[in-house]
């Protein structure tokens, strides 16, 4: 992309206005005939409402609503997140996404690709953290919920550890699930298309008007890969699963007698790919109970289970994509009683990062509890809180303690005890708002305390123009493999953990301005500068022959300067448009290009985060009852540095633009039939992976 074009694009974005989903966009005549009770069920998330709910937000925030997601035709949560500014979303295989906020990944290239995973975003569902502490990151396909369960997604860009906890380094993605409406309801959708895509989701709710309400939902998705070819690192070529069944390679033993040995690439293809060429198969069931006896008490209990098998680039392990498996259950309780908010959640289950390989197979249990209380003294609000988090990972059901398999041995525990204090003070007739959030986390490993904070102020220049600025410090949590690894990589080489690592820390300064130029025209611009330190890498230790590869902190730092622009508008009552984009530059200082030679460092730009990424969405009710949505997502060129045969190789990706459209027609009331076309043009979005192909689906949406 030419730079001049880029600047033009940015100027265009600043000029622009963003569209918002067409909510409750019934013809006015329909509305006039509705009762007040029915009107109350219609969402009015308009530009102005978004402005009001988000306008005063002290953070860089976007709210993605259910209707916006439905209109866009997004078939997975990953795809829906392409509708949000500040997110980098790459489709690895059909239905499986690599999702990042702002970047800072692939800083020190490593033998595995796990350093390309997004470990810097805290993802939550109804305040329950959904994050894997095995190696960091979120297993998106392992969520028990799907599109039909979502009420809205709140996205915070920028560090928010002090407010939300560790791992909210680049931001927070918080999914709020749907609850019942005034009347009992059934909601769902069913769609099917090429590449054997089948996607069915259904929810049933009781009326939320009574004190006690409940709901249950289920979802199922299955898809085939866009291609039947799998990449074999040792051959640097692609093969079908049938070919992989017999494929052999020759390797020279790295230890005496240093002879050449012929070996099968995979000992049993079915063991590694139990789903064959299916890229994704998943189901989930969720239920909730809500008790709201009065305005000051609200108790919400939810529980669910899921099972998923997805083929993706979790690790660069022999053949890729590899299969990732997850089978989990959860219970989640949030109780708001007068000023006290209590949240307790428990998640447990079995996961395998590389199916077929026992080394990445484990059981886990996550427990978290938080209590916060609101004190208000005139213009000052204080919210002190305590929280406890425990993550226990156990491989003993899959590898014996004497085995050389298993990335770690037995059971490994990460505990965190935290104290938080949030204060807010308003002055000058509430025009100036000052917020300070402080958090102290005490970890069991490393045995260290980490202090994170956020200092934010907003200033209302007028009712329609809001300035905000903030300075924050946030850190990532410790992970199991970097602390507890005890893995025989290649005899005599072992990968071992390090319980004295410093946690990755980011400092960010950010400023933004929101302008409501008219009720239907809003822009939001944020400029951010962040620097990060204490990245992890692996280094040779041990005597003799430097036979251990240990996790260590590198002396690398990285900094990022960027701007995100978001604009939205309603052109007419039936036509909305939104446009958004981020331009950024990340520089690495003293990074280690090759972990085999850790003393050799270099400095330069990080090219894995695209310099420009963003999108647009147009929604148009072009005739009564018919809606068309066209959305596009663009990423400029990218380069992933990865170690191939002891040499760092830059895997170059061309700029990509993905265009999707969904056309729907309301057959009866809000029940509609639709055609959903994805990837109208889209290239390969992840190294080694084949390009996303055109998907054409048809379906119905139920709203009773």
């Amino acid at each position: 992309m030419k730079k001049s074009n880029l600047y033009l694009g940015i100027i265009a974005l600043i000029l622009l206005t963003v569209g918002v989903p067409v909510h409750g966009q019934k013809a006015t005549d329909d509305l006039y005939t509705m009762s007040l009770s029915d009107l109350m069920n219609i969402e009015i998330v308009s530009a102005s409402k978004k402005a009001e709910s988000n306008f005063d937000s002290p953070l860089s925030t976007t709210v993605l609503t259910r209707q916006e997601i439905i209109n866009s035709g997004a078939t997975t949560i990953g795809e829906a997140l392409r509708l949000v500014p500040g997110l980098i979303v790459r489709e690895e295989t059909n239905g499986n996404y690599d999702i990042h906020q702002r970047g800072f990944d692939n800083i020190n290239p490593d033998v595995y690709l796990n350093n390309t995973e997004n470990t810097f975003s805290l993802v939550m569902i109804d305040s329950r953290v959904v994050y894997s502490y095995f190696q960091g990151g979120t297993l998106w396909e392992s969520m028990s919920i799907d599109i039909n369960d979502i009420e809205r997604i709140e996205i915070i860009r920028g560090p928010a550890s002090a407010l939300y906890g560790p791992n909210a380094v680049n931001g927070v993605i918080h999914i709020i699930t749907r609850r019942g409406e005034e009347k009992a309801a059934v909601k769902g959708h069913f769609e099917a298309g090429n590449f054997s895509v089948m996607n069915g989701q259904l929810s049933v709710f009781t009326s939320s008007a009574s004190k006690l309400s409940a709901g249950i939902s289920g979802n199922y998705q299955v898809r085939d890969n866009y291609s039947d070819l799998y990449y074999v690192g040792r051959k640097a070529d692609y093969y079908t699963l049938a070919e992989l069944d017999t494929l052999t390679y020759t390797v020279r033993l790295p230890y005496p007698p240093f002879t050449n040995v012929k070996s099968k690439v995979l000992d049993d293809v079915d063991k590694y790919y139990p789903g064959g060429n299916k890229s994704l198969e998943r189901y989930g069931v969720n239920a909730y109970l809500n008790y709201k006896p009065n305005e000051k008490v609200d108790v919400d209990l939810s529980a669910g289970t899921q099972n998923s098998e997805g083929q993706m680039m979790t690790m660069q392990y022999v053949t890729f994509p590899s299969t990732r498996f997850s089978n989990t259950k959860y219970a989640n309780l949030t109780a708001k009683t007068y000023g006290l908010t209590t949240h307790i959640s428990y998640t447990n289950g079995e996961q395998n990062m590389v199916v077929g390989n026992p080394s990445f197979h484990y059981d886990f249990r996550h427990l978290e509890g938080t209590m916060e209380y609101d004190f208000t003294f005139k213009s000052l609000t204080l919210r002190p809180g305590v929280s406890y988090q425990s993550a226990i990972y156990d491989v003993s059901n899959y590898v014996s303690s004497s085995s050389t398999d298993g990335y770690f041995k037995g059971e490994a525990t990460l505990n965190t005890l935290s104290g938080t204090l949030r204060g807010e003070y308003k002055v000058f007739s509430d025009k100036l708002r000052l917020i300070a959030a402080l958090r102290l986390d005490k970890y069991n490993v490393p045995d260290k305390n980490y202090f994170s904070y956020q200092l934010i102020s907003t200033f209302a220049i007028s009712e329609n123009h809001m300035l905000r600025a903030g300075y924050s410090k946030a850190n990532r949590s410790p992970f199991i493999i970097s602390n507890y690894a005890d893995y025989t990589y290649f005899p005599p080489y072992k990968i071992i953990g390090n319980q004295d690592l410093n946690l990755v820390t980011q400092n960010t300064v950010e400023a933004g301005i929101r302008n409501k130029w008219a009720e239907n025209f809003q822009t939001d611009v944020e400029v951010f500068y962040a620097d990060m330190k204490d990245f992890e890498t692996t280094s040779f230790t041990g005597i003799p022959m430097a036979s251990n590869i240990q996790y260590v902190n590198s002396g690398t730092t990285a900094n990022q300067l960027g701007v995100t622009v978001n604009a939205m508008t309603y052109l007419t009552r039936d036509l909305s448009l939104k446009v958004y984009g981020t331009y950024q530059k990340t520089d690495m200082v003293d990074y280690i290009p090759n972990f085999l030679t850790p003393s050799v460092t270099d400095s330069g730009p990080n090219k894995w985060t695209p310099s420009f990424y963003g999108g647009m969405a147009v929604n148009w009710v072009f005739i009564k009852k018919a809606n068309i949505n066209i959305n596009a997502y663009y990423m400029s060129k990218q380069e992933l540095n990865t170690l191939v045969l002891n040499v760092i190789t830059a895997q170059k990706m061309d700029p990509t633009m993905v265009v999707n459209t969904r056309l729907s027609y309301k057959i009866y009331k809000n029940n509609e039939a639709f055609v959903n076309i994805r990837n109208i043009n889209g290239g390969a979005q992840f190294p080694y992976m084949k390009p996303a192909e055109l998907l054409i689906m048809g379906g119905i949406r139920i709203d009773i």
Binding site: T17, V20, S35, S48, T572
Partner: protein, 168 residues
């Protein structure tokens, strides 16, 4: 691609002059529900035009004008009119006070008679208006103060209090 983005942007920027706001449409539909189903005016007010006044700048005025094109209250034709300041207020059945004119609320209340007064700010209900709009969970809701309607000589169906978020 970016050239296209630029063109669309310019188009959008120009088109943005065709103002439309979803929230105001919903509120106008609510108001139509109130005046056609829930609120009864004294007999003296049931002839002539049914006047909806908007104090200050608000896009809801456009919505009321749209409403007036297709709907009526009983036999009364709806007329939407704007008042630039509280001192300009003349007889009206409904008065919607825009946010920018909340500081004139006291004067406005003193100027009207059998009028349903509506605001879109929590300050309104404290200062004696009958209906105040607010948004909860992205849905349009309203607060209702029966005493403020009654003091204006309006008869309001008790059903309205059941639907309102707060009514005391």
């Amino acid at each position: 691609m970016l050239t296209r983005v630029l063109l669309i942007s310019v188009f959008t920027f120009l088109s943005a002059l065709n103002l439309f706001a979803q929230k105001e449409k919903m509120q106008s539909v609510y108001v139509f529900n109130f005046i056609s189903k829930y609120v009864e005016w004294p007999a003296s007010e049931k002839s002539g035009d049914f006047i909806i006044g908007v104090l200050g700048n608000s896009l809801i005025l456009d919505e009321f004008r749209e409403l007036a094109k297709t709907r009526a209250v009983g036999n009364q034709k709806i007329v939407a009119t704007k008042f630039n300041s509280a001192s300009d207020i003349s007889k009206c059945h409904v008065l919607f006070i825009a946010k920018s004119k909340l500081d004139e609320i006291g004067t406005a209340i003193g100027k009207v008679g059998n009028t349903l007064i509506i605001t879109d700010d929590e300050q309104g209900i404290k200062e004696g208006v009958a209906i105040n709009f607010l948004v909860v969970d992205n849905k349009q809701r309203f607060e209702y103060k029966p005493v403020s309607a009654k003091s204006r000589g309006l008869i309001v169906s008790p059903e309205l209090a059941k639907i309102a978020l707060n009514s005391n």
